[in-house]
Symmetry: C2
Subunit: 360 residues, 2 copies
């Protein structure tokens, strides 16, 4: 077995010890004689798994009691509809468009009401986060929507927008559990798990209880009603059991690593290694405004497409996977999620230095 | 490692050799240095997996070229909304209600149009399949809906209903790949994979191409529009990659076992062992009409609740898991899906004989 350094933007690298445990428990989960994949979701064994998974997440994020934790299918893309269908009582919402995913969410919301784009950074290929201290928040806005870390472009909100008292809804898919957050600042904070937490196929949505009601837009499917899932402890129908199980193991790993405070420190250290190099390199440079740099997704270019392609090819041959940038941006991108070890970033920078010297 | 005989109705037993392979490939899939869970869904490696999975399913089921195969999230419960949202052009559909899942589908469809219950077996606790040779099919029905195998009650359509030329939509979750079917008889044939195929968290929908259009009901979310997924080869957003991978392995296993013709023979043999015993036992009896018996789910009772409870308890202690019947039916239920070996059914019948003798 030989593992590579995997810089994929998602699905992405998982902690090696988690994978090892999953493999060991595959034929026989803790003496029960079956795999977690084979367990009835109504069994005591699986109930223990989902309960403990939720509890560990609540501990890690300090989730207050008046917030529900839901394990949902369909990805963030399904939330783009689910959010307006459940929250748009006045049929008005404000969207801050800082990348492709925020834009898709904004476009989807237009099906259900007046979705206002109150700020955007599309003028400069989403390479920055707009000033959100005094935006024209709509008087009757049901919520203000953001995508907190922009996977493709490599930006992140360092401060939450001033919503002027309106509810904040945030997609944190690519910065989920990368640092502590104050859950009470959000109405809904949610993310797909396939970047920083587990295998693809699940969203975790953390929702303030009073927002979970039967008063949804007409025609909202039962499965797209938060209340359906909240009332059933995320088991209205069979959930993605295996994903819940793997996420649970990642939560244990995060606790062992020291929790989100420690992860933040580690992530800052990792990102600094890469950004410091980019800032002094004569060949490579980062593509986003320094103040808005993501700790998780680091896009960079040489400024020469052929050289970019050469770098991607040679880095792969050297054991660095998935460094090619998103097709809409080009260049390179290193996603350095929680599970990427510091050694992976150090090795990448060493490789970049060598490449720079060899290709001056 | 000690494996039990797992009679769970779903999630359910998987082939041991599939689990073994999954465990072996967990840290390093075929020398690529990562787990399938860690792979970008846009990578060549994963593309090979999803393509081969679809191809093997097409081979197994002889799916014609004018049918699309979609890998979707949200379970059958989400299809209950997705089907009317995509197909109810006239806002009329006919439902045959033969169990809890057909009933839920019928109820959900009422949100979107006139959903007629044209037949039901609820009068006798869903213990039979109604005569469907000459039902009052609505003249303007967009489709006729059935649940082909009723997991909870243990019934199965031995013949498809006469839809009088209308489109047939069928939920085959609990008989998926248990025997050959003629796909051309369906407009949509779909099922959750967590019973007969793989881990929970995915539905496979096989849809006639001409039914996949942009002409959906107003307010249909992008993610609930079949065309979204069909146009993107089930990768509009990140799919349940790990589930696709495991299902792919089960398809290889089915091919190796001789395909669906061989599975049918094997399943009939397995079911006969259990039904033959039930028919001659003086303690146990099956709960459904013989002509409508499912090959997959076999509910049975002693007629005495205390004895039922004793049986469930003692069978579990003897290594037979999940024999307790569904809470709405009581008694016992043995789900004997494709991956349940004949030896498991033989061992169960031997145990039942012993129990009968000991408790006369």
């Amino acid at each position: 077995m030989s593992r590579v350094y995997n810089f994929s933007a998602g699905p992405a690298v998982l902690p090696e010890e988690v994978l090892k445990e999953v493999a060991e428990e595959m034929m026989d989960y803790r003496g029960c004689g079956m795999s977690v994949m084979e367990m009835s979701h109504r069994s005591k064994m699986f109930d223990d798994i989902i309960q403990e998974t939720e509890k560990d997440l609540r501990d890690l994020m300090h989730i207050p009691d008046n917030y529900k934790v839901l394990f949902l299918q369909g990805g963030a893309s399904q939330q783009f509809a689910m959010i307006p269908m459940n929250l748009m009582k006045n049929r008005v919402a404000d969207y801050i468009v800082t990348g492709q995913w925020a834009k898709k969410a904004w476009q989807e919301a237009q099906k259900y009401g007046k979705a206002n784009k109150i700020a955007s950074s599309e003028d400069k290929t989403f390479s920055y986060i707009p000033d959100c201290s005094d935006l024209p928040i709509s008087e009757d806005a049901d919520y203000v929507y953001i995508c907190e870390n922009n996977t493709i472009y490599g930006t992140k909100y360092k401060e939450l927008p001033n919503t002027k008292g309106k509810l904040l809804v945030s997609d944190v898919s690519s910065c989920f559990l990368s640092e502590p957050i104050d859950v009470t600042k959000y109405g809904i904070v949610y993310g797909g798990v396939q970047k920083n937490i587990g295998p693809a196929g699940m969203v975790i949505a953390i929702i303030r209880e009073d927002l979970i009601t039967e008063d949804v837009l007409p025609g909202t499917p039962t499965m797209l009603t938060y209340k359906t899932h909240a009332d059933a402890g995320s088991m209205y129908n069979t959930p993605n059991c295996f994903c819940i199980y793997v996420c649970g193991k990642v939560f244990k790993w995060l606790k062992k690593m020291g929790g989100l405070e420690a992860m933040k420190e580690r992530n800052e250290k990792k990102a600094a290694i890469l950004y410091d190099f980019l800032d002094q390199s004569e060949m490579f440079r980062g593509t986003v405004e320094k103040k808005d740099r993501s700790l998780m997704n680091v896009p960079f270019v040489t400024g020469n497409k052929e050289l970019d392609a050469k770098f991607v090819k040679e880095s792969q041959a050297a054991g660095f996977e998935n460094l090619k940038g998103h097709r809409t941006v080009g260049g390179m991108r290193a996603s350095i999620y929680n599970a990427m070890p510091i050694e992976g970033v150090e090795a990448l920078v060493a490789f970049m230095k060598k490449f720079e010297e060899e290709n001056k």
